[in-house]
Point group: D2
Chain length 344, copies 4
């Protein structure tokens, strides 16, 4: 089957690959319609690895996908051909200790699309377990369906933050994950979410959303702004989505006593952590690794209109121009949030 | 000072009463602008008691109030004359064991406006502790400010429900508390909230809100509707807001395995409870008594536009017609949600 | 294979049955050494059903088992022949929605030993999934291993109670489940647990444990006793383990404001529930259905000496006298806690 | 009144000081019987400050105290003269926002014994609020009562860790706080707690407690030991009690996926924090600042025999030799856990 293959670092090709074509009894076969280009795809493309995950053999890219069911295995009852769907890309061993505990995302044996050596979904047809394939209501487009994957990260962050209704939030970093986390935090109950960055173009995109308060940290003191928004008390929930080592230095300054801080961004190495500052406020610090049990809820929020991901789709390429799509996305233009690849 | 006084059962008079006029060092003095008529006010008016709370002496009614600060005690720093405010009506003993535990609403010594023998706020000026008085932003009207009190009950319910973003909710009972609970549940993360009642007029008011799914249980099977909304799984959060003994019979049928059920309504006596049904789903059942630490958040949600209480104000009377206001509210017209009394 | 078969109501026979004998790749084969007689086994024996679970065909009884591994499937790495083990008796569909959520005990497709139509473990050899088979340390006997199953119910209750260290607990009902719940509550942090019953013999067994405070409700006012133990504040955690309809009437009287009440017992029908009393204390009511992820912890507590289940073993019969064992257990002598059946 | 006064850095004197002698209406007056010497007392003695808290004027030391009530204010109902008591040393503003939220320990206005400029309790008689004074049962000695304060820190840590029954714990650092945290973790449900240090004398004291597994990190690989204790899964709860910057480097290696890590120790500055390692396990990181609502529970655990603090009392001095007591404690002998000062 034709697929976008990362041959090795910085070498992408659209070519035929041997991939499974028959669904197992619990699987569905999906004709792909839209796939987003993710920062991790780009990182494998540009660096050949993410931490311990190294591209050692040609690998199909793509893990943010939506499509249409074309066949179902004999045990499948929740889906049928013709259903429009999006797919949760990590397949754990459901019998493992982590999965039994409800943390299937933490199972070390999870097979995740486009994480070496597992092939991704940038190919016209994929096989996937039915219990990780989620129906899209008619009012959710394929492009929106392909954005459920990054939104799911924000949903995991907002879920772990235990946002109480009317809380004030802060998101550090206004990239794709920063914005979807801010949108998830609003949906989860925040009345306002301050979002910070250095790049004004990114903040301008965030500024279109009611409830988001963009702050350019090159021009404005973000701690002073939090104090203004919170009557000098501090934010109830703080999300670190930049992974920038400097960001951790003042992270606790944003937080109210007893607040929750959620670490989503992945810095390149250990960062300085002010234990005593966190103790003085008895902060709860949570950490996010992908997501668990949030896909159906993310679809539901998009369908209800409570989360609008459409403004995040900056540019679309046809599948045949997938290589160009990656080259475009790799430029990292500050005005670009999400690049997607679509199939006829 | 002139005040609306409940002399005894079914006998209301607007007359002068002796009330404190000087704020203590930690208090503020507030010129009242709007006061809502609550079901509990009406219950005292019509029955002279609510459970163990019996009206034994003339009592000023009213506890859903908003106004303008006219004077502040010497220790007060968070407010100043001219500030537009709403007031949390229960004053606990902050040093009590319940308060120390963070449950100040459960302190048996709490003094609550218009709960015998404590006078309420249907009078032109009141004295109140500054730490229970909350500033209203400019874009929140006095009428909305007076609705923070009932909304706070819904906020307490939604907070205790631990709503995760994208959850599906059910609210049983479409009175004032049912609607504000549904609005709080939406604000707290629900993508959809089904709300049930027998009275179509009440459901028609709920129907104006995006995200609320009204179900007339006289015409439609509510359990079937929940199954339809949740892919046969059940709702993540269920709120009982009717207090109707029949409502408890099928309450657990709405709930998904592991769901949370919040009991807000107050039935007249013990209700039948299906322990084994709740065990088979390992439900979490939470109970609400007024509210704790939700006022600032409720104001914030109204100010942000995430909760719109304006459609709930059905009719307004001037203070001088307070007795007529109560007589009107006591009719219990199904099309009336909230009756308010305003001061010049 | 020879097994204790419930042919139909009140008809038990030790006879040959056809049972699987070869472990699958993820299974182990276990030579049974000890099996406890459970109230549910007795209920099937005496009534032929428990709620919707009806014995319609001959069924092997027994689900509280311990034994020695004699063979392992090709994928099994955590166990080897010779390992002494106990077995968690419910096998869920790990891919189901409930299991993915971490509630594998709530999966409607769970296959549970000796719950119709699934055969139990009262037979010399059984096949079981390796991930539900738990190694016993050398200092834990087979008889203790066979008590892990009922203890697991108490562990689930204590886990759901979120016991804080130094809490005061109450357990209603001093049967096997009442006692193991009380022991789990002590292990989980309670400094004292009051346990109530009508039968003095049962209370005398509880009285042997330091930290348990037995109260005969026929002779002493249990609410007064709770007040005495808690400085008039009420218990932090209350466990209902009797299933007796009268027990629910005063359950909330034991509880402190903000306390957790855990319902473990299974009453024969709906019970009266005082909603307003529970609201006035904002109680958290939790419900237990079997257990999830507590077996390893239960074994660990027995091994450490923190939970001593040995005094609960009242009488032991050899496998060949299994029918007599059931007849003895069915007498329900108040001085008998657990009857066990052992294999050579 | 005579008191142990820290005049300035390294200058201690037993001399007369003017201190309040009359209890207010909500206070009690206590004749002191035992006071422990705390690391913070020693730090003020040796350095004159702890972070922003600087000794600028003579200050009475001591905050770990127990004594006998000699007089009570007119509102006090929970205590009477002759009651044996211990005292929670921090007096918050109960009306503050932090206190209303249930976090009275985080109130910035808290007045804490022997934290500048507040006088401590190393003086024959003190005045203290009745609601922060806790009765000791007859079987709890004064020396044990004076150890409730450090134990309370461990209780706060164990409470925040949400220990489930049968969990495996790790405590880093075997000083007073390390040991009391380990004891609290055992009482809170841990079946075993590994405790690490470099000093063998400290570990030898811990080794006397059943359930504590001492590991000398100079001689043994602590991560390998955790793996052995947990079947390669990692500990459920990890407590950092050393404050040593090196300790944070491998902290997350001890933890199981989904575990809770509680930071209790106070390192001198920011420490390196491996965000990605914490994310890969979705760890919950909690922080402790003193304690809230654990005193009664700590007393209860000591009274019940579940926590034995007596082995921690290494040496006792009479009040008249308080200066010698401090000089002795300041030597920091590895075999000394707690030095106490007693009054006739």
């Amino acid at each position: 089957m034709r697929a976008l293959v990362l041959e090795k670092v910085r070498e992408l090709r659209l070519r035929d690959v041997e991939l499974p074509t028959e669904p197992g009894v619990d699987d569905v076969k999906i004709a792909m319609r839209a796939v987003g280009v993710c920062g991790s795809d780009l990182h494998f493309y540009e660096h050949g690895n993410i931490g311990p995950f190294v591209v050692r053999a040609p690998m199909v890219l793509g893990h943010e996908g939506a499509g249409v069911v074309v066949a179902v295995g004999s045990n499948v009852t929740n889906l049928k051909p013709g259903d429009r769907v999006c797919m949760e890309p990590g397949i754990p061993d459901w019998t493992s200790r982590a999965s039994r505990n409800g943390h299937y995302n933490l199972d070390p044996k999870v097979r995740f699309w486009a994480t070496p050596p597992v092939h991704g979904c940038l190919t016209p047809e994929v096989i996937h377990p039915a219990n990780l394939t989620f129906k899209l209501p008619d009012n959710v487009s394929m492009a929106e369906g392909a954005l459920v994957e990054p939104l799911a990260v924000g949903m995991q962050a907002a879920t772990k933050a235990h946002v109480t209704p009317g809380a004030i939030g802060v998101v550090v970093g206004c990239g794709t994950i920063g914005i979807v986390t801010a949108l998830a935090a609003l949906a989860a109950g925040c009345s306002q979410v301050m979002i910070t960055d250095m790049q004004q173009e990114k903040l301008d995109i965030a500024a279109r959303y009611p409830g988001l308060v963009p702050v350019n940290i090159g021009k404005q003191d973000p701690v002073a702004k939090v104090r203004e928004l919170t009557d000098n008390w501090g934010a109830d929930v703080v999300f670190e989505c930049s992974g920038h080592p400097k960001a951790y230095e003042r992270l606790f300054d944003y937080a109210a006593p007893g607040a929750t801080v959620v670490l989503v961004g992945m810095p390149p190495g250990p960062v300085p952590y002010d234990v005593v500052a966190a103790e003085a406020k008895e902060l709860h610090v949570e950490h996010v690794f992908r997501y668990t049990n949030v896909y159906a809820q993310a679809v539901s929020l998009i369908a209800s209109g409570k989360v609008d991901v459409k403004p995040l789709i900056s540019k679309t390429f046809p599948f045949e121009k997938s290589v160009e799509a990656f080259e475009f996305a790799a430029q990292g233009l500050p005005s670009v949030v999400k690049t997607q690849i679509v199939f006829e």
